[in-house]
């Protein structure tokens, strides 16, 4: 049971980083990212390939994956050059995400296609004894999560964060005030992308084996659920949201013991249905989520 909780803790950590990244792009910047699963795939595969084929060590590979996803996100954000409506951008991200997943599935020479990549080494994996390694990985995950939270908090409260929120509320006003809307959008999407790359790297380290089936739409579903439940724009909320969603998801594995008739396909289907219903119910009954976005507090006398 303890080891199950430790493993759950690690999963919650990298899901929370993913949720924070989406929260930064969408909650704070108003740039909806329906290609999340694809960018996450890109991050995971970049990290794994940099180690396995590029011969990089784990920290370098992680930084490399962050840079690669950030660059991909920046390029995607460029399509908002003329049309800034969320609708169109959402469709573009959906397509880009789909494309990235297809690359992982089809470029056998690079990604081994449906076979997946195995034997991904872990940070300090050869130094730390195997029996206590999960505790180290949990500690590392928590540290990276807190680091992500700190960086994103600082960014959200910086002048840049204010421009980004202004864009979300009304980009025409921001442009009228002389802010460079396109450049700010590219940056906010790229920064979010870097953290998607970080979450993807941790995914690679945790599972040590990756294949395209791990990156289905459920990634998008739970990340959106986490951000909405936590309250759009609220960083801490995204973490709690991710924790709640992952506990729910991992907990639903035990459904199999209760109802033995369920095979794994059906169980997977039920989990996504639950997430989908939860998503819609939240949007209808509690669209503001359970936590509030950071606001500058003004002392009133």
């Amino acid at each position: 049971m303890i080891s199950f909780l430790v493993l759950l803790g690690i999963v919650v950590c990298f899901s929370a980083i993913l949720a924070l990244a989406l929260n930064f792009q969408w909650g704070l910047g108003g740039m909806v990212n329906f290609g999340l699963a694809g960018f996450y795939t890109l991050g995971t595969y970049s990290c794994a390939l940099l180690i396995l084929k590029g011969g990089a060590n784990t920290p370098v590979a992680t930084l490399g994956a962050m840079a690669i996803v950030a660059a991909a996100c920046a390029a995607t954000a460029l399509v908002t050059l003329r049309v800034t409506e969320e609708d169109y951008f959402a469709i573009v991200t959906l397509g880009v995400g789909e494309m990235l997943r297809l690359v992982a599935l089809n470029e056998d020479w690079l990604t081994k296609g449906a076979l997946g990549l195995s034997g991904i080494p872990r940070p300090l994996g050869d130094v730390i004894p195997a029996d206590v390694y999960v505790y180290f990985l949990l500690g590392l995950s928590v540290a990276l999560l807190l680091g992500t939270l700190w960086v994103l908090n600082v960014l959200a409260r910086s002048p840049f964060g204010r421009i980004v929120r202004a864009l979300r509320e009304d980009d025409v006003v921001a442009a009228t005030l002389g802010k460079n809307v396109l450049w700010a959008r590219v940056r906010v999407f790229a920064i979010g992308g870097a953290f998607i790359g970080l979450a993807g790297s941790m995914h690679a380290f945790y599972y040590q084996y990756i294949d395209p089936t791990q990156f289905t739409n459920i990634v998008i579903a739970y990340a959106f659920m986490a951000v909405i439940a936590g309250g759009r724009g609220a960083h801490a909320g995204a973490i709690w949201g991710a924790a709640a969603v992952m506990v729910l998801l991992e907990g639903s594995r035990f459904l199999k013991d209760v109802i033995p008739a369920l095979d794994s396909d059906r169980l997977a289907a039920i989990r996504i249905i639950i997430i989908g219903v939860g998503l819609i119910l939240l949007l209808i009954y509690r669209p503001q989520g359970f936590m509030r976005e950071y606001r500058l507090q003004v002392e009133l006398k």
Partner: protein, 286 residues
């Protein structure tokens, strides 16, 4: 080359109905509905239940399901989108994404991941100018042409169609003229449901029935609708044909796995160079 172009024409024709549904829904409801793919999947499986399992002829099954699915779409709208009306595009978009997950996985829950196909008797393909056409392709073209004509008549010649265009254009003004927008929204969903159900069957005939069958078309269908100009029915038709033919021709020079790249590139180009699409109204911001 000619054969590929013809195949592209057929895959374009398959996309016309969902593209039309997307553009109608966007025109009246003002948000892109990402659940259209999963809706086609569910409708196709409903037809499969009647045709493949109960042995109905495909045509009768499709007609029954099309009408029923129009009703299903109205019910879905009342349950999910009505409480969210006026909440802003992003909320509705995310809700439609969630709805798509639910519908696709209901189909997966009921029928599993195995590919299935409709019960239709095989027929020998016939040749015309060295182009091989099979019977399903001819049926697809005929049905789409019929549906497009009916849609055009509906939009231009009937009071409901006029009211739909009025609501799409300016809901407040339509309300002032005594057009009740909720009633028009129900009509729009019904028509979209019929179009999606027939579209789902056409996809199922062309490929196979499997849970992601509809979602695979979402990017292409949206590309078609955007290329033609979101909200323009004629544009949706033209956009679908262009995307279909170009995607199919692209397989001559690039690996077919990446066919989705064509609609994606089309969206990116159109957004940067001609945001209103080919037939859309010029793009005005507040």
């Amino acid at each position: 080359m000619l054969q590929t172009a013809f195949n592209g024409l057929v895959s374009g024709v398959i996309m016309t109905l969902p593209a039309l549904a997307v553009t109608l829904l966007f025109g009246v409801l003002k948000f892109p509905n990402f659940a259209v793919g999963a809706m086609m999947t569910v409708a196709a499986y409903m037809v499969f239940a009647l045709n493949g399992q109960l042995g109905w002829p495909l045509a009768a099954a499709t007609a029954t399901v099309a009408v029923a699915f129009g009703g299903v779409c109205i019910a879905i709208d009342q349950l999910t989108f009505k409480p969210l009306r006026g909440r802003g595009g992003i909320t509705l978009m995310v809700a439609s994404l969630g709805l798509g997950f639910i519908l696709e996985n209901l189909a997966r829950f009921a029928y599993g991941n195995t590919a299935r196909s409709f019960a239709i008797e095989l027929a020998r393909p016939f040749r015309f100018l060295d182009v091989r056409m099979n019977r399903e392709q001819m049926i697809t073209i005929a049905i789409s042409a019929l549906a497009m004509t009916l849609m055009w008549l509906l939009l231009t010649r009937t009071p409901v169609g006029r009211a739909m265009r009025a609501v799409a254009d300016n809901p407040q003004l339509a309300l002032v003229r005594g057009i009740e927008s909720e009633r028009i929204i129900r009509w729009t969903w019904f028509i979209a449901g019929v179009l999606l159900a027939v579209g789902g069957v056409l996809i199922g005939m062309d490929r196979a029935l499997e849970p992601p069958m509809g979602s695979n078309y979402v990017v292409g269908v949206f590309a078609a609708a955007i290329l033609g100009g979101l909200g323009s029915a004629l544009g949706a038709f033209a956009g679908a044909m262009i995307i279909g033919v170009v995607s199919e021709l692209s397989t001559l020079i690039m690996p077919p796995n990446y066919r989705i790249g064509i609609p994606l590139a089309a969206i990116a180009l159109i957004l940067v160079f001609r945001p209103q699409g080919l037939f859309g109204q010029p793009y005005i911001r507040k």
